[in-house]
Amino acid sequence: MNNGLSGLGALAGPSLRDKVSDWLLIEAELLDDQREREWLEKLVSKDIVYQVPLRQTVGRGVGKGFVEGAYHLVESWGSLNSKLAQAETGHSWAEDPQSRTRHFITNVRVGQPRDGRVEVRSNLLLYRTRQDEAAPQIFSGERHDVLEEAGDGFLLARRVVYLDTTAIASHNLAIIF
């Protein structure tokens, strides 16, 4: 089914879709296996734009409530690197002991490639537990990614994470979506 109704327009064929889907699953594996440093250095473009927009409850017909220019997080490669460096100092309390996370990536839609870049949308369910708490924190949202072709694979050039809540049910966002 490729009727152009997706926000991405006409979707890519199965071969690119498979390749991108594999990339997303491997990325999730790295993030869940405490391999963020490898993730940053091997899968992320030095020019990455990484944003988590802020959302408000708005009336029907006036959009989804994402406020232009307002964010929970805005990251560059340098700021992501700073955060990993912080976690690696050995006295970053928020993530030591580290959260247990599980990235569930579904509903993958892959756009037609253009100039070596491909737009990808996917649904994200991120399950997180801390310390001995049995109750998880769950984040649900949609990722709008741009992957750029690099050698045999891709680098993440852009990620915008549209979360499905206005108030975040978590004590921090010391995690990568």
Partner: protein, 478 residues
């Protein structure tokens, strides 16, 4: 009968905790059982949030007629609106017909509000304007006394909108007391003033609102441990020991603040909280005194709390020390109570209105990277607060009568000394060096006074002896 016993047991429990607080606070003891405690929390909603001036919004969030945001006093929703005359209204979000919430969104622009139940309709000032088939349903019924209930008193200071539900509460200016001098210093550095850079971030923490108030009253000592990793990566440019230089100030009962400040021109900066020259060169005495301007110039960090739950932080930070030097960033906070031992943190970032778009972008990026809910500082802050609330509601804490320790800076403890020689130009009870917890004792002393205040009395809003020892602390020494 059993029920009555439970109620009186609960109130006895609260009374006994407050008694321990009253007796202990001047000696640096605060019962941990005040944290996360359901019975204490119920009393806080009425005695603290039902009576104090509570921060709701910044005026720049509702610039145009018809703009509104939904905010809270205690746990209750209030609609903050801007009307056609430019006035600000704070309206209890409950239809006068059956009490149904009438604001459907959390922010927007509207002509008014329609109750979804039967259609009672209100204008932006909250006045009842009609209902379906009015003549048949209500005919000549008086409308003028059936508007949305406004908060009892509403006022704003330096663009900060506050309201209170109690007519016995003294006016805002009197309530803020000498804290106003310090708010001027942060929000009034030039004629333009500040504006929000975005709507507030909101996140839920299993912690007591008092943890936020306590931390922002001037808990600088935690930087060296809790935030060591953020300092290690250069997110904040002033080393821990250096950053402890400055002043702790009890501005007025309940309201405290702290400055990290260079003691002389020779001592390291940054100056003006790390705001770049292009902005700080516009700071002047149009809205503040030369004393305030001079203090701001020597300042690296300002942190403060307006009782009960409104906090302010201004300091230099960076998202990426390898690329960008730290730049001044201003955040304001509301530690919104959301049940015993639970808060929803509301977090705004602000900029001076005359900042260039690039500078606004820079200060916002620095703020998001450090003091957003995913920021290098903020992620660690909530970590201890969660376990304080857990300790607070523990049976062990109750049975073992556990107190928290706030002795730092009491006479003979540590190096902090009270400034009495007039070398500090501002008001309040002032200590030099930030190894000091009088700022928090001031918070808890006033908290205790509010919690125990009879209905017809409001606790004293001025220290008994101006510019001298807090009388209670002097007594503690005797």
């Amino acid at each position: 009968m059993a029920n009555t016993n439970t109620v009186s047991q609960k109130s006895e429990e609260v009374e006994s905790l407050l008694q321990r607080l009253h007796e202990g606070v001047d000696h640096g003891r605060v019962p941990v059982g005040l944290y996360g405690n359901p019975a204490v929390y119920e009393q806080e909603l009425r005695q603290v949030f039902g009576r104090c001036w509570v921060f709701l919004a910044h005026e720049s969030e509702i610039p145009k007629a018809g703009d509104y945001v939904v905010r809270k006093i205690g746990e209750d929703d209030f609609i903050v609106t801007r009307d056609q005359e430019g006035g600000i209204n704070v309206l209890f979000d409950a239809c006068r017909h059956r009490g149904v919430k009438v604001a459907r969104a959390s922010a927007g622009n509207t002509k008014g509000f329609v109750c979804p139940y039967h259609g009672w309709t209100y204008d932006i000032k909250g006045r009842l304007t009609g209902a379906p088939l009015w003549k048949s349903a209500y005919g000549e019924m008086e409308k003028s006394d059936k508007g949305l209930l406004p908060a009892t008193q509403v006022d704003s200071y330096q663009g900060l909108i506050f309201a209170t539900l109690d007519d016995k509460t003294p006016p805002l200016k009197e309530y803020l007391g000498d804290m106003a001098w310090y708010l001027d210093l942060v929000f009034g550095l030039n004629e333009h003033g500040v504006e929000v850079l975005a709507p507030p971030q909101r996140f839920v923490i299993e912690a007591d609102w008092k943890s936020g108030a306590d931390n922002f009253s001037g808990d600088d000592y935690h930087l060296g441990t809790l935030h060591r990793s953020a300092i290690d990566i250069g997110a904040f440019p002033v080393p821990f020991a250096e950053n402890m230089k400055g002043y702790h100030i009890q501005a007025s009962p309940g309201h405290s603040l702290s400055f990290s400040m260079a003691g002389s021109e020779e001592e390291p900066g940054p100056r003006f909280f790390g705001f770049p020259e292009e902005l700080s060169s516009t700071f002047d005495t149009s809205r503040i005194s030369q004393h305030q301007l001079d203090a701001a110039r020597m300042s690296r960090v300002f942190v403060g709390n307006v009782f009960p739950n409104f906090s302010i932080l201004l300091l230099p930070t960076t998202d990426d020390a390898s690329k960008h030097p730290a730049t001044g960033m201003l955040t304001i906070r509301c530690w919104q109570p959301k049940g015993p031992g639970k808060i929803e943190a509301w977090n705004w970032f602000l900029g001076y209105k005359n900042m260039t778009p690039e500078l606004k972008q820079r200060t916002y990026a620095s703020g998001l990277a450090t003091f957003s809910m995913g920021g290098t500082f903020e992620i660690d802050d909530t970590e201890p607060w969660i376990t304080i609330a857990r300790t607070g509601r523990s049976v062990a804490g109750e049975k073992l009568q556990m107190d928290m320790n706030y002795e730092m800076g009491l006479p003979g403890i540590g190096i902090a000394t009270q400034i009495k020689d007039g070398s500090w130009p501002g008001p309040g009870i002032v200590y030099k060096s930030r190894f000091e917890e009088g700022v928090q004792r001031n918070l808890f002393r006033f908290y205790g006074a509010m919690m125990s205040a009879p209905k017809d009395q409001f606790p004293a809003l001025r220290f008994e002896t101006e510019g001298s020892d807090a009388p209670a602390e002097a007594q503690a020494q005797a």
